[in-house]
């Protein structure tokens, strides 16, 4: 009835499945997490745009055109006659545009009368008078005229002496500068993309510094323990207790402000959190039996840290690294915003926001664009970081 199987015959029947490696397993779980994948796509988009965007936008980040300064992404164009449209700029001037919203450029000025407050333009052989004396009149009459931002009440347009309907306007998207221009007539879209390069560079360097200095420092401190650990952690405490702003300002004295100062500062400070995290992980891991087994085999200290301890702490390390990138980007934006960052004409998201602050009432889009860029990137990294934390936790392995 029952008899032992011939072992040789069994050999071919027993096939072993090629097992998933750790990272394949992580990737499988990460793919199932919709939020993490959204985050990953967001980050990929930002990285792609940062690398290729400035090449494709058609403008350079420093190219100025003061005639076309402060033009919003969504513009109102007024029909002069036939196919001729003009954009009435908040700075009391007319800019020629096509009916699709392409900006042609500054117009030929026949007369600029500052006492009577009108400008005479020549458009396609027609004499266009832009009379902004109403602004002064309405200001006197109006009760809270200081708050009056409605441009419509401030001007009249005459074509060949004939008053035209200034309310006959059309809302179009700015085809030339898709996100408008800043106060020097630079393309905001190009500058935001260029800012993404700087912000991502800072984020990347912060994470690399985190990884190398923080992980090794924490690993050595945790594994050595005792007096070495004590001294190394007190150094960390000292670094951690000096405010970031103070370090930046002090470094400004030594080296000139700019990207390298920010990178240096972030490099000096950002690994501290990671070092603490890794030390804590290593402290709990080093008492595990697999570490004792490696020691009993005579594996060297460096190899134990690199091959046994750090790979087992990789989950928290990767998550912390992911979370440190947005925080570094935010620090850079903050430092640039308060004027300690990159200098003009270079742009980072922080300096863009800072530059836009002056014209926040008239040109809010200049502030919104970099803010959205910062928020978008933060969301991306945080979603991915959260997803990775779940994916890297072996307890959730299915």
């Amino acid at each position: 009835m029952w008899e032992p199987v011939n072992k040789d015959l069994l050999g071919s029947a027993q096939e072993t499945k090629k097992s998933l490696t750790y990272w394949q397993d992580v990737w499988r779980r990460l793919r199932q997490n919709i939020m993490a994948m959204i985050g990953l796509i967001m980050i990929a988009t930002v990285i792609f745009l940062a690398i290729f965007g400035p090449m494709l936008s058609g403008f350079s980040y420093s190219e100025q055109n003061t005639a076309l300064a402060n033009i919003a992404p969504n513009i109102q164009i007024t029909n002069i006659s036939g196919e001729d449209y003009v954009l009435v700029h908040n700075d009391y001037k007319l800019i020629e545009a096509t009916k699709d919203g392409e900006l042609i450029g500054a117009l030929e000025i026949l007369e600029d009368n500052k006492t009577e407050k009108y400008i005479l333009y020549l458009i396609n052989g027609k004499e266009v008078k832009f009379d902004y004396s109403l602004a002064q009149k309405n200001k006197v009459k109006g009760s809270n005229s200081m708050e009056n931002t409605d441009m419509k009440t401030k001007y009249d347009i005459y074509v060949d002496g004939q008053l035209i309907d200034k309310y006959d306007v059309k809302n179009v998207w700015n085809k030339t500068y898709i996100l408008g221009t800043d106060n020097l007539g630079r393309d905001v879209w190009t500058r935001v993309l260029y800012g993404a390069r700087i912000s991502l560079t800072v984020g990347l360097i912060a994470s690399v510094v985190n990884l190398f200095i923080g992980v090794l420092y924490g690993g050595i401190s945790g594994y050595e323990g005792g007096r070495v650990d004590n001294i190394m952690m007190r150094i960390v405490d000292i670094i951690n207790s000096v405010p970031l702003l103070l370090i930046v300002i002090l470094l400004m004295v030594v080296i000139s402000p700019g990207l390298q100062t920010i990178i240096l500062t972030i490099g000096l400070v950002y690994w501290v959190g990671m070092a603490r995290l890794v030390r804590g992980q290593v402290l709990s891991l080093k008492e595990q039996e697999f570490v004792l087994a490696a020691r009993a085999l005579g594996v060297s200290k460096a190899k134990i840290i690199v091959r046994h301890l750090i790979p087992n702490a990789i989950g928290p390390i990767v998550v912390s690294m992911m979370m440190s990138i947005p925080s570094a980007i935010f620090t850079e934006a903050f430092l640039s915003f308060i004027g300690l960052g990159v200098s003009a004409p270079e742009a980072s998201w922080g300096t863009l926001a800072n530059d836009a602050l002056g014209g926040i009432r008239s040109y809010p889009y200049q502030l919104i664009v970099p803010s959205v860029a910062i928020a978008f990137t933060m969301f991306g990294f945080n979603f991915l970081g959260d997803g990775l934390r779940d994916a890297l936790d072996p307890r959730l392995r299915k």
Partner: protein
């Protein structure tokens, strides 16, 4: 011929400092004055309750802990104060099998890497193919398949993991293996398999074992001699049959009476010795004989002087004042 391993008055104290302003140093006397020796091809079983210092003894012998005092003589060489570098050749001769098959394998490494690490450190093989062959051979020796090499520890059961742990220890062809409760985390049926495998390996290679366990019947099965530890001290040591049939120390008697007998009638009739009180703290062990607080035979002499191991019959020593030389 010298003993394979000789332990002389081994002590391992763990220092614990308390207090912030006034530092108070306390010593946990995990291993306190333990001496024994193991011959080539012999198995010494080390038994005792939890926290009595069995595992610490094992770990101190293999120098995972630096001993506080005493001497460890391996193959006639005193390795007590050897540096990590000097120890390296002895790490090849002395290996360890761990208790928890789940914690003792690095979950981020494949089985080939886990076993291969031992081979790499001691450069047992010279070429990649030789290394692969050796890993395959080791896996077959411990009853696994060679295809298992590319797998990760979490894909194995507890018994299989313990076999991997044994394969790792065997990879360097040691002369002596410390088995630190290798079977206590396994099912009974798997325990028998692993113990039989260890015995077979011993028969084939003639290596010595220090078998640490708290399962008395399993220790009786595998060991030639048995040492009984209580609160960091060796209270009795001798040939297996002598210790089991004629236990001398009151603690050994109590310990052995706890072995269940697989027969309800004799189990009922058995005279079980139940010790009173708890194990004293190893920070402040009782003076004299450590066992005197729980011993019904204790006398004034027990509190005054430390008992030393005395030979009561051939190959049977006990540390108790009840026995006079």
């Amino acid at each position: 011929m010298a003993s394979l391993l000789e332990i002389q008055a081994l002590k391992k104290y763990f220092t614990k400092s308390n207090g912030f302003i006034k530092k108070v140093e306390q010593h946990v006397k995990a291993v306190d004055n333990v001496s024994f020796s193991i011959e080539h091809g012999e198995t010494l079983g080390l038994v005792g309750e939890s926290g009595c210092g069995k595992s610490t003894t094992g770990r101190t012998i293999i120098k995972l802990y630096q001993p506080t005092s005493g001497r460890i003589i391996f193959d006639g060489v005193d390795i007590t104060n050897f540096s990590e570098k000097e120890m390296l050749p002895y790490r090849k001769k002395m290996q360890m099998i761990f208790q928890d098959p789940y914690a003792s394998l690095n979950s981020r490494m494949t089985i080939a890497d886990i076993i291969g690490e031992a081979i790499d450190v001691h450069k047992v093989t010279t070429s990649k193919s030789e290394r692969d062959d050796m890993i395959a051979d080791l896996l077959t020796r411990v009853g696994l398949m060679k295809d298992h090499a590319s797998r990760y520890p979490h894909e194995f059961s507890g018994g299989q993991r313990q076999r991997i742990g044994i394969a790792r220890a065997l990879a360097v062809n040691p002369e002596f293996i410390i088995c630190d409760e290798p079977i206590s985390a396994l099912d009974v049926s798997i325990q028998a398999q692993v113990v039989n495998m260890l015995e077979e390996i011993q028969r084939n290679t003639g290596m010595g074992y220090l078998f640490i366990a708290h399962d008395l019947s399993m220790v009786k099965h595998i060991s030639k001699r048995i040492g009984v530890m209580y609160l960091g001290q060796l209270v009795e040591i001798g040939d297996r049959d002598k210790v089991y049939s004629n236990p001398a120390h009151p603690y050994t008697k109590a310990l052995l009476s706890a072995i269940p007998i697989p027969d309800p009638l004799s189990e009922k009739a058995k005279n079980r010795i139940i010790l009173q009180g708890d194990v004293p703290s190893p920070i402040n062990p009782p003076s004299g004989c450590h066992f005197r607080t729980r011993c019904k035979y204790s006398t004034k002499e027990c509190a005054k002087c430390d008992p030393v191991l005395k030979t009561i019959e051939n190959n049977h020593q006990v540390a108790c004042h009840l026995f006079k030389q």
